[in-house]
Symmetry: C2
Subunit: 457 residues, 2 copies
């Protein structure tokens, strides 16, 4: 037996004992949190109510209904404070026309294509835009074609790379076609552009999302097309390069309108001025019902407060649920909350964001200093009860990143294999959320929140 150990071994032993202590101290409470969350499935029931309202695009009537639904729910649940934080948000409306049809072709004339306008796109003229198609897979290819693009409809057809394990990485490698495509196509004189949906699924459901214009470049209509129709179109124009399609869209941009972040909190009984924020973005795209993106995750964070109440746990620090409005096409809610936090000098201890769907839990990303990350890794055995297998340095989330003065920012990371099947599309329905997966994630975040409240950082 060796009694005198070098420092490295000391620190290993001390880490072991901290892990063990935290585990012993919180194992019972963790078990109760998990068992109540899984058996009562309250958040999942709320999700059903929320989805019945419909999708919640910023500025839409549904979004206001949802805001008030959430405020009422928080009040019913007896949170210590509940309030709405006003914020101006953009308003874009899809309207009732978005069609694409093969209008000139020997073989395919009349064939319809499933499209969905991207959020922020301008409309086509009333009778649509008719033009030949040019298929490209990159902006470089577009540049090489240059003048040949003029008067055409650009068809961005770079596929989601299913060979990658991380679906967010695959998404990141294809989504520039959506965000920048209209700018790049118009730069060379295109009259409209369509983009292969950024999805892991072969179906015909178009996936919408945010897009940008450049104030110095002509604005053109810009829409998503389902992956099966993208495959069809690619084949069809290789057979008949002179094939034309007609796209018609009547979506519309409006002036900003007033909306709200929904905020509710339960006050800490020892350090009420130290705030732990938990939340997600409450707006969604106007397809499906925004169940995974980001309805269920919002309700997971809302249920954290209620779970602690149901279990009679009085947190030492204040736990605040912030449902940020307008993450999808503006981040206005998060910016507003960040500004308020700066101005009022809110003392944030930590913030946890849930915006990667409500699938089975895998880990937490943390943005913090290395000492804090190490401390937090000692909590892994207790979090592991809710199937959190790792805690790693990494990005947390766009909304809570606007909170400048916290000590640690967490991103909840559920499994991501199914997420891009449904993201921003009609596939993102209540039925796509699994109650046990959702409720296990709720439990994981509730345990982390409670540990933060009791142990501090």
């Amino acid at each position: 037996m060796i009694l005198i150990l070098p420092i490295s071994s000391y620190s290993i032993l001390s880490a072991q004992s901290t892990k063990q202590k935290v585990f012993e101290k919180y194992k019972k409470v963790a078990d109760s949190i998990i068992s109540r969350s899984l058996s009562e499935q309250k958040g999942y029931e709320w999700l059903k109510e929320l989805c019945e309202i419909g999708p919640r695009l910023s500025g839409s009537e549904n979004s206001f209904k949802a805001v008030h639904w959430a405020k009422n729910k928080m009040e019913e649940l007896g949170f210590d404070s509940v309030w709405l934080q006003p914020v101006m948000v953009p308003k874009w409306v899809r309207n009732n026309i978005e069609t694409a049809i093969v209008s000139y072709s020997k073989k395919y004339k009349g064939r319809k294509l499933n499209i969905a306008s991207f959020g922020g796109s301008i409309a086509t003229p009333p009778n649509g835009k008719t033009a030949e198609i040019v298929e490209v897979k990159s902006f470089d290819q577009l540049k090489i074609l240059g003048e040949k693009i003029k008067g055409k409809i650009v068809f961005f057809n770079r596929a989601f790379d299913n060979s990658l394990v991380n679906t967010f990485e695959a998404y990141g490698k294809a989504v520039d076609q959506r965000t920048q495509g209209a700018i790049e196509a118009a730069r060379y004189g295109a009259v409209a552009s369509i983009v292969r949906s950024v999805t892991s699924r072969k179906d015909n459901v178009p996936h919408t999302g945010v897009m940008y214009y450049d104030s110095l470049i002509t604005k053109i209509p810009h829409a998503a097309i389902g992956t099966l129709d993208a495959d069809f179109l690619s084949r069809a124009i290789s057979e008949e390069p002179s094939l034309k399609i007609t796209i018609e869209m009547n979506c519309q941009n409006y002036s900003d309108v007033n909306s709200f972040n929904v905020i509710g909190e339960i006050r800490g009984n020892e350090f009420p001025n130290e705030i732990i924020v938990v939340g997600g973005h409450f707006d969604s795209w106007d397809k499906g019902c925004g169940a995974h993106d980001d309805g269920a995750p919002c309700l997971q964070t809302m249920e954290i407060l209620d779970l602690l109440n149901r279990l009679g746990l009085k947190p030492k620090r204040t736990i605040r649920c912030v449902l940020f409005i307008n993450e999808e096409n503006g981040l206005r809610g998060a910016l507003e909350y960040g500004k308020y936090a700066d101005t009022v000098k809110v003392k944030h201890l930590a913030a946890i964001e849930a915006d990667r769907g409500a699938f089975t839990p895998r880990g937490f990303n943390i943005t913090s200093d290395s000492t804090t990350v190490k401390k937090l890794q000692d909590w892994l055995p207790i979090l592991n009860k809710a199937h959190i297998d790792w805690i790693r340095p990494g990005g947390s989330g766009g909304d809570i990143a606007q909170i400048k003065n916290a000590k640690a920012w967490f991103g909840f990371v559920p499994d991501d294999q199914r997420y891009m099947d449904l993201h921003h599309s009609d596939n993102d329905t209540f039925e796509s959320v699994h109650p046990r997966e959702m409720q296990l994630g709720t439990a994981a975040m509730a345990i982390l929140t409670y540990l933060l409240s009791e142990e501090g950082l």
Copy 2:
């Protein structure tokens, strides 16, 4: 800097460097395996073909079709050897009648109930069994009721405990009602018994499975009932204790018939006599199409061999895929393979079983000595590329447990939150399998298999 370290630190450092070495040596091959598996989705395509045959209950015509489909597929794929290993299996046929109806009640007469005979159950007489219902939640309760059970239909209504994280644990705590229920009910004179389906889902789909009789106790018909109908029935008999139901089933037991394990292998080029078995059970229940249980996992293990071939990887040791027949109601295929291995003295290095669905990968259970387990844990960083987050001592699987002389037995552990929704029921369809989840699991098992082949144990 400390140059002389106590043994404990030595071993930590040496473990670190082994992990690193294994990681560096295999990272490229692991990336190729993952990327080919995810992008080509071959196993998932095979699953579609397999599911088109239908469910594969031992002894059924479909099971023979499936056996030949698998043999042909292995031959087409160019495995070095492909053969069928004969084995006698039980034969039970559900037939066309399984109905339950409320036959005596003021309020509910005529209300139908969704039932499914358990595998091995005897039939009712031609006009069914009509009797009052006694609801119980445990065998102890049944014992207390004793004589009052006589002439009644016992309704076992202990629910799947959704508060538990591990769905296999929840399953284990309820499934005795199915396996032993007919024996216990008949012990006190019941004329039939029905069991609340052992499932995490509230729907009306009954879940079948194996059941047992005791040769000294009268055999009675025994069937599952959907959870919604179980809830209804419980309410109805609390309102009207004299309510009667009539159950009719015409299922039938036959003599054993001849069937086969399907075996295919690619031969090792250095140690061809050292065998690594990968496999699952190829039979299923006769509900749904046995997609998760255990079709997809079988095809995952089959694709391991093909993936190595596609990538031009020549394993040092022989990799043998064994698709065991009759795990569900007899384990005959595994027993036969075990006997053969004993007799012929096959030198098994290791065996990997996949029989927990084809969901997203989480870890591997290992049965082995502690030195081997430690060695295998050094492989975690490389397996982590395919989202294997842990390697732990634990049970491997019922089929490979019949192989007596291996050095290590592995159970592939995918996420289990959705499994008991569909297990042994009409919910277990092709559509319930997600291609990326399945193919990531294939990659995880392929990497482990290749490491075993190259590194030995």
